[in-house]
């Protein structure tokens, strides 16, 4: 027993280091967001201010455009998540259950979209969407983000479908159900965790996207959170408390989704790895 004490202590210490490194930046964000302005510079490197305040949050919520940005981001991310999950569960099902001639071409196409630099598409997409009136519009962003996220979501859904035995829908089809009915009534309910994970992934990805939002949106009305925050930073770069309060708010939806889905992450990947 005595022998194994040292490795255990080293192991726990290493874990602690990782936790500290992972959480410190977020802790600092939170700390500055609750520090009153008069203490911001005098207590600069203290770990926690002697007084805390929620004034920055109140100001951001009442007197800035951030509620609009938040709403826009919520609309864009949620719509993208729904559109992508619907498309990806269909195409993931096709890849999981059918063998057809174009299957490998489709897989190759989807892999290709994961390889090339998306920044290549900034200029052409702007040129295409602009005459259609889809620049400076949330709809345009939803369309673009949906396409970007569909390939990965398809692979994800495919791996979840692969985990469900084929006998289930075969049994239903012997009882007279069509394949689509079997898919909708038997397979989809069983993949609910997978659907939740896909929704979470896509929501987070859309919530974080910056470059296309910067390019396609100008003006406050359709700005998403990243665009709003970045504009705010370059305009009012002195108001650190308010910026960080806004930053903490941007973190909330993504963080919530992550906590919901994180236990599926390693499981899902393990299943995929075992299968080879």
């Amino acid at each position: 027993m005595k022998q194994s004490l040292l490795p255990t202590v080293a192991h726990r210490l290493a874990i602690l280091c990782y936790i500290a490194f992972a959480l410190f930046p977020l802790f600092w964000l939170l700390k500055v967001s609750v520090t009153p302005n008069d203490l911001l510079y005098s207590e600069g490197v203290r770990m926690w201010p002697s007084r805390t305040t929620f004034d920055h949050y109140a100001f951001v919520l009442r007197h800035s455009a951030f509620p609009t940005f938040f709403k826009n981001s919520l609309i864009v991310s949620a719509s993208t998540a729904v559109v992508v999950t619907a498309c990806a569960s269909l195409s993931g099902y096709a890849l999981s259950r059918f063998s057809f001639r174009a299957k490998y071409a489709i897989i190759a196409l989807m892999l290709l979209t994961q390889m090339f630099p998306l920044v290549m598409l900034v200029a052409p997409i702007f040129k295409i969407l602009s005459p259609l009136g889809l620049t400076n519009s949330l709809t345009g962003l939803v369309i673009v983000y949906s396409a970007f996220n569909v390939p990965f979501a398809t692979f994800l859904m495919q791996s979840f479908f692969d985990g469900i035995p084929k006998d289930l829908e075969e049994a239903a089809m012997i009882d007279g159900a069509t394949k689509f009915v079997a898919f909708r009534q038997i397979i989809l309910p069983l993949t609910l965790p997978g659907i939740a994970a896909t929704l979470g992934f896509v929501f987070t990805a859309a919530w974080s996207e910056l470059l296309f939002a910067l390019m396609l949106i100008n003006g406050n009305d359709a700005a998403t959170f990243p665009v709003g925050l970045l504009t705010f930073v370059s305009k009012f770069s002195v108001d650190f408390g308010q910026m960080m309060a806004a930053g903490v708010m941007a973190l909330i939806p993504a963080g919530l989704f992550f906590l919901l889905i994180q236990r599926y992450l390693v499981q899902g990947l393990t299943a995929g790895a075992v299968k080879g």
Partner: protein, 311 residues
């Protein structure tokens, strides 16, 4: 061809033919929405983008749009900012991938053995991955800012800096800012993938090895590493390509400055399109980047193939 199918359909019972058609088209119908999205929003713009590389496309110039052949590439070959960006891309990608991989592997090994509270620890250390990249960039930019962040004061306290300054505005060290932010943000990705691969290794192999008297390091070298090798190869390849394209952190933290010292090719493309509104030139750089990345991927695949054939 259509005619024969038609007449055949008419001669025989109509239903089986229709049913057969319905059966054959079923997977295509399922895939259609995804495929249409990908083709319309990614493939078509990709082709158009490639054509832009040979045209003079400037958003604010109504007389632009003509075909100019290889003019952009001639300019590009004499553009010192591009060569600088190429060097910075190598540095940015190399340092980020190596550090993310190393710390990710160590974290995966630490999380592989069961201990009390592992679920919670896993959630906490993977959290940076959920932080939106723009926020990760801003967050680290603030930490490096001597007005508001602690890092310059710590470095000053350790004697590594003459005075608490911002490394993001120091031409020699500025690149470390985005690299550290990227490592912080990307460790969980490697840890998650490697942990999944670790948990797929059959446990009895380790037991057999320890009965034979192998120590931890020997077990790691002869069991863990060979089992992880395929996962390592594929994740490192994919991440390298992905990180070399990843401009968010740099755009947010430094905007490519000071004096283009942190400008990578991807952020240079974005700057040309977004700030200079020169879509033609931006597309030409993008095309060069695409060719370089394809060449890199090919090289890796060929290398792998030859190594496999040797065995």
């Amino acid at each position: 061809m259509t005619m024969t199918a038609d007449t055949l359909g008419r001669r025989h019972d109509r239903r089986p033919w229709l049913t057969r058609l319905a059966h054959a088209s079923e997977p295509y119908l399922y895939s259609a929405p995804s495929l249409i999205l990908i083709i319309v929003v990614m493939l078509v713009p990709l082709v158009i983008g490639i054509s832009y590389a040979f045209r003079d496309i400037q958003l604010l110039n109504p007389f632009s749009g003509g075909f100019i052949g290889l003019e952009h590439f001639r300019t590009l070959s004499e553009d010192p900012a591009f060569y600088g960006a190429l060097r910075n891309t190598l540095w940015w990608t190399g340092a980020s991938v190596v550090l993310q991989f190393f710390f990710g592997l160590v974290l995966a090994l630490l999380l592989d053995k069961p201990f009390w509270g592992r679920g919670l620890v896993q959630a906490l250390v993977f959290l940076p991955w959920a932080v939106p990249s723009f926020l990760a960039g801003l967050n680290w930019a603030w930490l490096f800012n001597p007005v508001i962040g602690p890092i310059p004061h710590w470095l000053f306290g350790l004697g590594l800096m003459d005075q608490p300054g911002n490394i993001l505005s120091d031409p020699h060290y500025a690149m470390w800012g985005p690299i550290i932010a990227n490592v912080w943000w990307g460790i969980p990705f490697f840890a998650i993938t490697l942990l999944a691969a670790l948990q797929a290794i059959p446990r009895d192999l380790y037991e057999a090895a320890s009965i034979d008297g192998a120590n931890w390091f020997q077990r790691f070298l002869s069991i863990t590493l060979p089992f992880l090798a395929p996962t390592i190869a594929i994740t490192v390849l994919l991440r390298t390509v992905w990180i070399s394209n990843f401009a968010d952190l740099i755009v947010v933290m430094t905007g490519g400055g000071p004096a283009d010292r942190t400008q990578i090719v991807a952020s240079y493309i974005f700057t040309q399109a977004f700030k200079a509104l020169d879509f033609g030139y931006a597309s030409a750089i993008a095309l060069v980047l695409l060719v370089l990345l394809l060449a890199y991927s090919m090289l890796i695949i060929l290398l792998r193939q030859t190594l496999l054939n040797k065995d």
